[in-house]
Symmetry: C2
Subunit: 401 residues, 2 copies
């Protein structure tokens, strides 16, 4: 029996990612990066087993491992893998990489590492100035390689598969949680690796959202157009132990993934038939979606796409309900996906970057009707040389059961 | 239809927690605490909806809310709830609470808040010195109120319920992931709120562990005696898409919870029969467990309980496999449980605190046999005035299917 994984990230992938990081460090005048967070560690080493990845702006990276060495060697293509008992042994490695002195500046993942770990790392790199490299890392991860795109394409098929079984188990009186459990079970049965990594602090978003009826229109702390009441104030978002009613919208927004790479998709379902007002709003939303899709091409500025979508929604009289209601409105219509659910770019306010080939996006036009519920859909796209490719193998229509 | 939760944390609970925090802040000469992380925010306010909880060492706390105000008011018993557009509006609130000046010191959750948020908070509290209050918070949360104990007692019944259905679906060739999915689905059907909060950085532990055969003995980055291969290096722990074999141990270690409060329990199962060497090791492990249980009483020093357990395991010839194998060994045999899975106290090396009534523990004696698998069990206990109460309503024996 093999006690290691065969789906190792190829060496050439890891190599290219390290090269991109070193180029960015050099441009920013940062001497070295120290990477520790699971998603980033997996991206740059191929494993999440415990360690500190030291990447000098020039020369070879060293993966200083506090976890199981054999396991790291089996999973990672980094050449220099060295066991250390604790962080305190890092300076000795640094003196080898930087023979004359410690690095003047070290780049750390300010957006995800906690203060206590940061302080411990800084106390080891006494003569180095810590700087934030999270924007650098997020920019690199934003553009996916063909290897990564293949993974996400595979992930994007799981949702459609799971959803195709809806008519077999969706019944009136079933709770949001029960419906979600069935769908996630189906996804996990087919290769979904199980996690649902989110980068944003406090943005847990464990299982995605299955939101039925008026409770689905309740706003929450999740940075999303939809929140939901959830099952308890302790977990006040997503599905709750509430029965699903007939002729009321059910928004199903789930992430499934293969080898860490997530797809993030949404469909609206109903037991029976939606009221005609919602049906006509949904038809208009599809017009907005089509319009946004045409804007998805290299060179397009993310924020401008967002503003154009808002304008179109306004023009179709959806403004009041588009991407939220009242002050609790999401300021985006889409976001990057990959190893984390909330990757860059954000197709939203304040994000002035241009789209580029290889970016992978989730576009999620949604409408929130307080007291009624949430409707909408979410497809995933790859930005190509000329435009975009929709990789969600699923019809746009509302699923009537 | 009610669009809010009825299971609100009682005002008297929240009040007592704030009083305990204020007493600890006063003892430590800290002028105010600013609390933001979901589990802590829920503990001190009753909600995880977005905001900053300001707790002066004297006087009334103010919950400065950036999220949905109506929702926060429905869920939280904090009296002063004020909407703010951003962190920048906090100083104005502070000037009211501290009329003469800003607080000299502010306490922050150094172990969980990321550096970038820390920097933003510090830039607002310009003249305050930030200090770490995570030990203070963890110490307070360590001792549970009768209200909290009731929740955890309820949570502790879900695992037994789910496990009782094992014979209906556990079959040879079923994968670890499939088995886990069935159990979690059962748990969620009965009131499990769904999340599995862990405080430790990078300790995701999404669904708990279902580990079958030799792959269950593979160490991982999880701070636990068991790790597991997982389904991919991107998620290298817990259940994998591997078939379960007959006559080989299946370790089932899952957290279920009600209203945010987790129970954390383990049983060993097998399709067929375990080899007699494992059966006799398991019998000895039960002797160790019984011995540890007798040590669980107020006043006992956590580390000493751990050392005595090690000694007993050694004496019974289990030393080589107890709580891990070789250098990759957990340095604890138990831990606190509550809103997070890795609460204090730790019954392990370096933890010199004494047990006290109201603490709730998971005790997890386990044996790891490389190339064979993991066996063991985990029960939950409340420390009482005189000793402890086991709240796991489940027989100790190996579950043979």
């Amino acid at each position: 029996m093999k006690l290691f994984h065969e789906n190792k990230t190829p060496k050439v992938e890891i190599g290219a990612r390290i090269v991109a990081l070193q180029a960015a460090l050099t441009r920013a005048n940062i001497d070295a990066a120290v990477i520790v967070q699971n998603a980033d560690l997996f991206y740059f080493t191929g494993t999440i087993q415990k360690g500190y990845l030291l990447v000098p702006s020039r020369g070879n990276p060293v993966f200083a491992v506090t976890g199981d060495l054999d396991r790291v060697k089996a999973e990672s293509s980094i050449e220099a893998i060295e066991p250390i008992a604790s962080l305190k042994e890092i300076p000795a490695i640094c003196y080898r990489i930087f023979p004359s002195s410690q690095p003047h500046t070290i780049g750390l993942e300010f957006d995800v590492i906690p203060v206590s770990l940061y302080n411990r790392i800084c106390s080891v790199f006494k003569s180095s100035r810590p700087v934030d490299i999270s924007p650098i890392i997020r920019n690199i991860r934003m553009v996916k390689s063909p290897y990564e795109i293949d993974k996400i394409k595979g992930s994007a098929t799981i949702f459609a598969e799971a959803i195709s079984h809806l008519p077999q188990f969706l019944k009136p009186g079933m709770t949001e949680v029960a419906l979600q459990s069935e769908l996630i079970r189906l996804g996990r049965y087919r290769s979904h690796f199980g996690a649902h990594r989110v980068r944003g602090f406090n943005q847990e978003s464990y299982y995605g959202h299955v939101l039925a009826g008026p409770r689905g229109a309740v706003p929450s702390m999740v940075n999303s157009p939809t929140g939901g009441l959830g099952s308890t104030p302790a977990f006040g978002y997503g599905a709750g132990h509430w029965p699903i009613e007939e002729n009321s919208p059910i928004l199903i927004d789930l992430c499934f993934g293969i080898d860490g790479y997530l797809a993030d998709q949404t469909r609206t379902a109903v037991i029976g038939k939606l009221p005609s007002s919602l049906l006509s709003a949904y038809e208009k939303l599809l017009v907005v979606k089509k319009e946004i899709e045409e804007l998805l091409r290299p060179g397009a500025i993310c924020e401008e796409i967002y503003f154009q979508a808002l304008e179109k929604a306004e023009a179709l009289d959806l403004g009041e309900n588009f991407m939220g209601h009242g002050p609790r409105r999401a300021r985006f219509i889409g976001h990057g996906i990959g190893l984390e659910m909330d990757e860059w770019p954000v197709i939203g306010k304040g994000f002035r970057s241009a789209l580029a080939p290889g970016m992978v996006l989730a576009l999620e036009p949604k409408l929130i009707f307080p007291g009624i519920g949430a409707i909408g859909l979410e497809d995933n796209y790859i930005i190509t040389e000329k435009g975009c490719e929709n990789i969600t193998p699923l019809d746009e229509s509302i699923i009537e059961v």
